[in-house]
Symmetry: C2
């Protein structure tokens, strides 16, 4: 058995300790005589597992009690619909969106079905290599909410600030940055995050919503997307993704053992700094993003000639470095450095990049 360093943007690498525990418990969880996968979500055993996961997440992120924490299905994409359905009220309501790349565009494209979308700012003109300064945004007074994507996984662009939007609820897609560093939850109306990057298996999405925003949903909101109904039912209006929720809980416990989000933030910053320094210092590899907006989580880079790409990827695979191909829409390479990627993985990548350059 040889584990690789897996740089996938998502579904992404999980901590080895978590996988080992899943393996050891697969036939019999703590003497229950069954896997967690086989447990009724209504039973006392599973209920305790689910509640522990929520408590650990609240602890890790310092989530105040006036926020509900939901463990739902459908990924961030289902939430692209849920956000206007739960917050915009009617088709005539205006929601502000900041366009900083593929994922913020997907979110606003979906919102068009339910409300009037105002693109408050767009980085399209820069080919999504920067984040528009807030002073330039054209926001809507009384908007139903403002949505932004703090980190764009495809373009590798990250907000260096949390927007200040006054009384307008701030809605953030934290799929790729949740738990990667401390954030102040109180700044946000709604935080949502697909699990498959920093939380656990695909098929789970965590939604953290300030309780005063519950109760605004349209009457035709599907029950499974209705935050108020789900909050009232402890995310068990229907059968949740029980095993994924459990794996998420193990990841939360692993994070606590690592020192929590403060420690992860220090490590993640150091990992990203090392890789960007290697790229910038190489005179060979290139990252196009404005330095102040470079992502800690997703580092895209190009080689001087596309003709080298396949050879780079094949050599990387032989060196135990997996899933480095960039997204098809931008090409080149991309190294995703989520919490489960250790510094040793970055060291191995930097060493391989240097060796590849020397031989090219």
């Amino acid at each position: 058995m040889t584990r690789v360093y897996n740089f996938s943007a998502g579904p992404a690498a999980l901590p080895l300790e978590v996988l080992e525990q899943l393996r050891d418990e697969m036939l019999d969880w703590h003497g229950a005589g069954m896997s967690v996968m086989e447990m009724s979500h209504r039973g006392a055993t599973y209920t305790a597992i689910a509640q522990q996961a929520e408590a650990d997440l609240r602890d890790l992120m310092d989530i105040p009690s006036d926020y509900a924490v939901l463990f739902l299905q459908g990924g961030a994409t289902a939430q692209f619909s849920a956000i206007p359905l739960n917050l915009a009220g009617t088709r005539h309501a205006v929601a502000d969106y900041v366009d900083t790349g593929t994922w913020s565009r997907k979110a606003l494209d979906e919102a068009h079905r339910y409300c009037t979308v105002n693109i408050a700012a767009s980085a399209a003109a820069s080919h999504y290599t920067t984040v528009p300064a807030q002073a330039s945004w054209q926001t809507t007074p009384g908007a139903a909410y403002l949505h932004y994507t703090p980190n764009e996984t495809i373009h590798g662009v990250e907000f260096p600030f949390v927007p200040d939007v006054g009384d307008v609820p701030l809605v953030a897609d934290l799929s790729s940055t949740i738990l990667s560093r401390p954030i102040d939850v109180r700044r946000f109306g709604v935080i949502y995050a697909g699990a498959q990057k920093n939380i656990g298996p695909a098929g789970l999405v965590v939604v953290i919503v300030r309780r005063d925003l519950l109760g605004r949903a349209r009457g035709d909101t599907p029950s499974t997307l209705n935050w108020e109904s789900m909050a009232a039912a402890g995310s068990m209006l229907n059968t949740p993704a029980t095993y994924s929720w459990y794996v998420a809980g193990l990841v939360f416990q692993w994070l606590k053992r690592q020192g929590g989000v403060e420690a992860m933030g220090r490590t993640n910053q150091a990992k990203a700094a090392k890789l960007y320094a290697a790229i910038d210092g190489s005179g060979f590899y290139r990252n196009p993003v404005e330095p102040s907006c470079r992502s800690w989580m997703n580092v895209p880079f190009t080689l001087p000639d596309k003709a080298l790409d396949q050879r780079f990827l094949e050599g990387a695979r032989r060196a135990g470095l997996a899933a480095l191909a960039g997204h098809k829409s931008v090409g080149g390479m991309r190294a995703s450095l989520y919490n489960a990627m250790p510094m040793a993985g970055v060291d191995a990548l930097v060493e391989y990049m240097s060796e590849f350059q020397r031989l090219s």
Copy 2:
């Protein structure tokens, strides 16, 4: 390690062979150096896994090529919304529903948000112990579809026939009976099934839809619930529940090794017959359902005195028989006998029931 016989109605027992394979592959799937849980859904390895699962399901159920097979998130409850959103067109369209218990009621309650619901027949007057004969149904000429629930997991009631509805698309919630016996897919417009009973882990729902029914969705259908968009994207419009899809594929391969749905049907019928015979012959236990409508999958039964329930359940647990408490809405006991429950489990239950009766 001691495995119990797990009679949970869902999430439910999985085949031991499948769990053993999941355990053995958890750190390294076939030399990939990672778990299936960590694989990009866009990579060649995972794509092959997903396609194999679909091919095996098509093979097992003999699904014609003019049906799309979707692997979605949100469970059957999300499909309760998706059905009218995809098929009813406008709020003025009429959809026929047959009310035979808790799950058909949940489906029609959700449909009320999107269209006019006609309850074509109801078994409420019998306290859901029978299925209304089709001759008594009040259907709507030109209905958008007719929905029914072939098996009601809580009441233990099963349709002994497939309704004949002419040109109206027949929509069936097969969550608890899919793959438990042969069915003729061609009789149906849409089949959907939450995975957590006969397919795999919770958090996955399989939708089998005749392709001529695609393209009728309302404009405000959330993308993740839009069958046409999902069919066009191979269920990967967004990141699917990758690991659950994989586990489902292992279950499909296990079913093929057992002899497919014909063999499962014979075994399932024999399992149910043995348990009903033990109940009916006991003069102690009781099942209220009309014999022709008794479920093969979910067998509710009561003891002569509710005061015995706790002692029955505690003794069962000590005997390695888990999750026998009936649903809170009906009380008593319930034994769910999905594909992964072997005849030996039914034998152990029948023996325990006899012993409990003798000592009472």
